[in-house]
């Protein structure tokens, strides 16, 4: 019997087939391809890719950059969320839109702005020369570009949640004599810890995987300014496909761990996280 409230069997299965087929074609098969290409010639060449000193230094640099960029954006995210969610002030909505701005800027443009500032022919280029301090084609530039593209991740997870929670609990703690800092650590922070972790996960995944912005400022110096995604590109362009996909499979593994942790957080603490996530 055909119900008036659901589609017929044929329509239902056609839609499921279309949806699943589309996701398989564009998401699942490409992911499988990364691992299959990496292991195409067996385990040995796959593992050999990680013995290369250049690969190891790329992994080290990627970890270093994420270890600087994520904590800085974490401090910013918490500070911005505290100011925006706990106080009413003029220009607040403008501030919130400006925090999202890096999401609508092309990663290439994110790299370009720092070249225009600190590059050899940039605004502060001569100054950097005098100080003997290299930013572009060096690690500081990579860190700056990574901070730019991952800028909004943590703030935008915290702001809606902290707005929803209001100020009553903090006011109670202050009335009972707690200091402002103690109130934050023992009242506010526990209330937002899952959203915070969620934001850190997404921020970290993007920081380790960023390609466009970093590519513009890095100069691709092997062993010095090559992050993992850039190293993937170099190996790929040298037709060293197995090694390229081996390094790529490490990044894909990171993406899978991120997705897994994200799903667990959503299933267990879904109510505590902001309801609609747009990235």
């Amino acid at each position: 019997m055909r119900s008036a409230l659901s589609e017929g069997r044929a329509v239902r299965w056609t839609l499921i087939a279309l949806g699943v087929g589309f996701l398989a074609l564009f998401l699942v098969i490409p992911l499988l391809a990364v691992f299959s290409e990496a292991l195409r010639r067996g385990m040995e060449p796959f593992l050999a890719a990680f013995d290369e000193p250049d690969t190891q230094s790329a992994i080290g640099l990627t970890l270093l950059v994420a270890a600087i960029a994520v904590p800085l954006n974490l401090v910013f995210g918490v500070a911005a969320a505290w100011a925006v969610a706990k106080f009413e002030f003029r220009g607040k909505s403008i501030l919130v839109s400006l925090i999202d701005l890096p999401f609508s800027v092309s990663p290439v443009v994110a790299g370009l702005v720092y070249v225009l500032l600190f590059g050899a022919k940039g605004l502060l280029g001569p100054l950097m020369d005098d100080w003997q301090f290299k930013i572009i084609f060096a690690v500081p530039g990579i860190v700056l570009a990574t901070i730019f593209v991952t800028f909004p991740f943590i703030a935008r997870e915290l702001i809606p949640l902290m707005q929803e929670q209001g100020t009553a609990e903090e006011e109670a703690a202050l009335t009972l004599g707690a200091s402002g800092w103690r109130t934050f650590l023992t009242v506010t922070l526990p209330n937002v810890r899952w959203a915070l972790l969620y934001g850190v996960l997404l921020c970290n995944a993007r920081a380790m995987g960023e390609f466009g912005a970093v590519s513009v400022v890095s100069g691709h110096i092997r062993g010095l300014t090559n992050t993992m995604p850039l190293h993937v590109e170099i190996l790929y362009n040298e037709y060293n496909f197995v090694a390229a996909f081996a390094v790529a499979s490490l990044l894909a593994g990171l993406a899978l761990v991120t997705l897994g942790a994200k799903s667990v957080l959503e299933w267990r603490y879904g109510d505590g996280l902001a309801r609609i996530h747009r990235h």
């Binding site: 008036a4 839609l15 391809a33 290409e37 002030f89 701005l101 290439v108 443009v109 202050l174 995604p229």
Partner: protein, 286 residues
């Protein structure tokens, strides 16, 4: 002057609050935002400005730049349209139907957010090349996907997919089933209920998702350059041209293309915001 008189006289910047730390946190947030994002972007616009408006226009209308801008914006729009159709189908299937593996697929939708773009780029290039698993299927029909504009389309569909699904899905989840019951009780067929009652109320969310997917696609670089072939006038995207200009140390030219891209995507987002406000009035849903 008493405090009350003072606060009445000064413009009210913020409402009084018992909580501490306003000056510290706002000061830090605004300084950090200015140093990392606002000042560098201002320098970009200023650098393009040294060319003057006619100078920017001259750079933007050189045939190669014009072709790259066209490739970027048209293929991004096409990818956003494909995602609009399949994004709604995917969201519908994930919200309304039960089937094995559904939870896993739901989690997989976020893959493009988590997978580094360079990894996606080489994987798609390997798959959709003529000797790849998927590209090989199209060879008998004489269709080449990788290293043609079609390859760019594939990469941009990949990048934009989660934006549409993740904006439509929660709205569909919260959609009141009683409205559908009412429509059915009043004698509408299922098709009429879906197309005249359910889908119209998804329109604002769908437009938002499509706008986000489009904006992301226009600026996308990593996943595209591996599969595009990067032929000038055919499959060269605007962000790649910025990189090329930089490598030639043509900073002003790079800044000019970047400014034009920023301006066009800003206008597109503005137009879609207007459209969204219109459809919210028209269909009465947020």
């Amino acid at each position: 002057m008493s405090d009350a008189a003072l606060s009445g006289w000064l413009p009210r910047v913020r409402k009084p609050s018992a909580l501490p730390g306003f000056g510290l946190t706002l000061g830090f947030a605004v300084s950090y935002l200015s140093l990392i994002v606002l000042i560098p972007l201002a320098v970009l616009v200023a650098r393009a400005g040294t060319l003057g408006l006619d100078g920017i226009w001259r750079v933007a209308t050189t045939p190669r730049v014009l072709a790259a801008l066209e490739v970027s914006f048209f293929i991004s729009a096409a990818a956003a349209l494909v995602n609009a159709v399949f994004g709604v189908i995917v969201a519908w299937v994930l919200v309304r139907y039960e089937f094995p593996g559904k939870r896993l697929l739901d989690a997989a939708v976020d893959l493009p957010f988590a997978l580094p773009t360079a990894v996606a780029g080489i994987a798609l290039a390997a798959l959709y090349a003529e000797n790849g698993w998927i590209g090989g299927l199209f060879v008998p029909f004489g269709i080449k996907i990788a290293f043609t504009p079609l390859g760019i389309l594939v990469a941009l569909i990949f990048i934009g997919l989660p934006f549409v699904v993740r904006t439509v899905q929660p709205v569909l989840q919260d959609f009141d089933r009683e409205v559908e019951e009412a429509s059915a009780t009043l004698g509408a067929t299922r098709r009429q209920t879906v197309f005249r009652v359910v889908l119209p109320s998804l329109t604002p969310a769908l437009l938002t998702g499509v706008a986000l997917a489009f904006a992301r696609a226009v600026g996308e670089y990593g996943s595209v350059i591996f599969i595009a072939g990067n032929m000038p006038f055919v499959s060269e995207i605007a962000p790649l041209l910025i990189v090329t200009k930089l490598e030639e140390f043509d900073y002003a030219g790079a800044a000019a293309i970047a400014t034009v891209m920023l301006a066009i995507s800003f206008l597109a987002l503005l137009a879609i915001n207007g459209l969204q406000a219109f459809s919210r009035r028209r269909f009465g849903h947020a």
